[in-house]
């Protein structure tokens, strides 16, 4: 039952199980609203997020990808998010260098206690992606019929 409505961005959020996913749960229990087109994928730790996952999301038609993990120093696995931070910094810089709008990718550190921050970040990010419009530069025409 597809609904007729104006274009809305598709956003994939990779959340680490211990902090950010719990933060998302807290946002829920606190009934804090954020756009429905933010879809969360649960990973044990931000260091589990392979650049391939992010590129795959863009291939399949995601307009923005955000990765959320424990604050540096608070990683459940002590150092996972430090590795993730380097990985994402270099990946994002690379995508930017290849002309992919840098606003489409983001990393946020959100603790289990920061339900408010989670909702705020998602609202803000969704807004920013809406501004940027459809991801055409890194999409795969086989997967998505882009609006003319």
């Amino acid at each position: 039952m597809p609904i007729e409505r104006e274009w809305e961005p598709l956003i994939v959020a990779f959340c680490c199980n211990w902090c950010s996913y719990a933060g998302a749960d807290l946002a829920g229990t606190s009934r804090l609203n954020y756009p429905a087109n933010v879809k969360i994928i649960r990973v044990p730790c931000s260091c589990r997020v392979n650049p391939l996952f992010i590129l795959r999301a863009f291939q399949r038609g995601a307009d923005g990808v955000i990765m959320a993990g424990c604050h540096p120093g608070d990683c459940h696995y002590t150092s996972g998010n430090y590795y993730a931070r380097r990985r994402m910094t270099l990946l994002f810089s690379m995508l930017d260098y290849m002309g992919i709008e840098s606003g489409r990718t983001r990393v946020e550190w959100i603790s289990a206690a920061e339900g408010g921050k989670f909702a705020a970040v998602m609202n803000e990010f969704a807004g920013a992606i809406h501004e940027l419009g459809e991801n055409r530069r890194l999409g795969d025409i086989r997967c998505k019929n882009y609006q003319k």
Binding site: Y82, Y97, G99, R106
Partner: protein, 330 residues
């Protein structure tokens, strides 16, 4: 270089005779003067075919992975820049140092036949490197060209004439001094473009890719037994580019997989049949790593920890990509 070739043949013969090495890894002359191929020599009888000239750009260190399956040591000739790749392979346990005998050879910079063709030099019958020039005997007459005009990009951006590892040096004096060329100039240029133009540039370049995998297979850092792109079970395998995305994916992931491990040997760009400036991807990562995590030269020290397997609590946040502003991109 003629002289150096002779020294190399002589030394190789000695070491083979002494039984110090079981085989020699070098370059075998081809019929066209500019087409030597990497080759193993097992006996003194084969050595006359061993050459060393301006067209021996191929880095031999990766062949040591397979050579290691044989017993005994392998004598390998390495140009200064080749030793970085060797060290990287050593640090990743792909090569057994004890089974190699590193003979560092001097290098005056390697030459690019495409550049010669670009200068209208065709129908080459034979060629000779005389001093600072290369003299071609062609069907359309004798053509001469200064060496410096024919240097490969990787040699213009030479890391310097120092061998990072060797058991013995030959003709190091032949080595040309570093040109002092800014290897990041090309990266800066791109970074200064608006995102849209950067995108168009890379689309234009990458759309030429024919997925021949030459860049990957020649790369000393790409030494996987099986590449994810060849592995049906990886979920991302792909043979030919059925969509522009796949061109991007392949080259982004490849550059990413060698990030912090790429020694900037420039082989990827040298071998690309379509002339895609792939080194501009790797150099971007090298530039970022230097800027974000401090200067790092992969392959300079086999015991150093690659930046992506290391961290500090004070590392920059990924947001730097958006906040650093136009000068460095966005």
């Amino acid at each position: 270089m003629q002289k150096l070739s002779e020294m190399m043949r002589a030394r190789a013969a000695e070491l083979l005779a002494q039984g110090a090495v079981g085989r020699v890894l070098g370059w075998r002359s081809g019929g066209l003067g500019y087409d030597p191929s990497p080759a193993f020599f097992h006996s003194a009888e084969q050595l006359p075919e061993l050459v060393y000239n301006g067209f021996c750009a191929a880095n031999l260190s990766k062949y040591l992975i397979k050579a290691g399956e044989n017993d005994g040591r392998t004598l390998v000739f390495l140009k200064p820049c080749d030793t970085y790749g060797l060290n990287q392979l050593l640090s990743e346990h792909r090569i057994d140092r004890d089974k190699t005998y590193l003979l560092g050879v001097g290098c005056g910079g390697m030459l690019d036949m495409e550049k010669a063709r670009g200068k209208g030099i065709k129908g080459v019958g034979s060629l000779e490197e005389a001093g600072g020039a290369v003299v071609f005997q062609t069907l359309y007459g004798e053509k001469s060209c200064p060496r410096s005009d024919l240097l490969l990009e990787k040699c213009i951006a030479c890391k310097g004439g120092e061998h990072m590892a060797y058991d013995e040096l030959l003709g190091a004096e032949e080595t040309a001094a570093n040109t002092g060329f800014d290897r990041f100039a090309g990266v800066n240029e791109l970074e200064d473009m608006p995102a849209g133009e950067r995108f168009d540039f890379w689309r234009g370049q990458l759309s030429k890719c024919i997925r021949c995998n030459a860049c990957r297979n020649v790369c000393p850092a790409c030494s996987c037994n099986q590449c994810v792109f060849d592995n049906a079970r990886s979920g991302v395998s792909a043979k030919a580019n059925a969509d522009s995305f796949e061109e991007n994916l392949f080259h982004i992931i490849r550059a990413y997989h060698v990030a912090g491990r790429c020694t900037d040997c420039g082989e990827c760009s040298r071998v690309c049949p379509q002339g895609i400036p792939l080194h501009l991807l790797n150099r971007k990562l090298i530039k970022d790593i230097n800027a974000f995590y401090g200067p790092y030269q992969a392959g300079a020290d086999p015991d150093s920890l690659p930046p992506l397997t290391d961290y500090t609590k004070e590392d920059v946040e990924p947001g730097v990509v958006t906040t650093r502003g136009g000068a460095t991109g966005c």
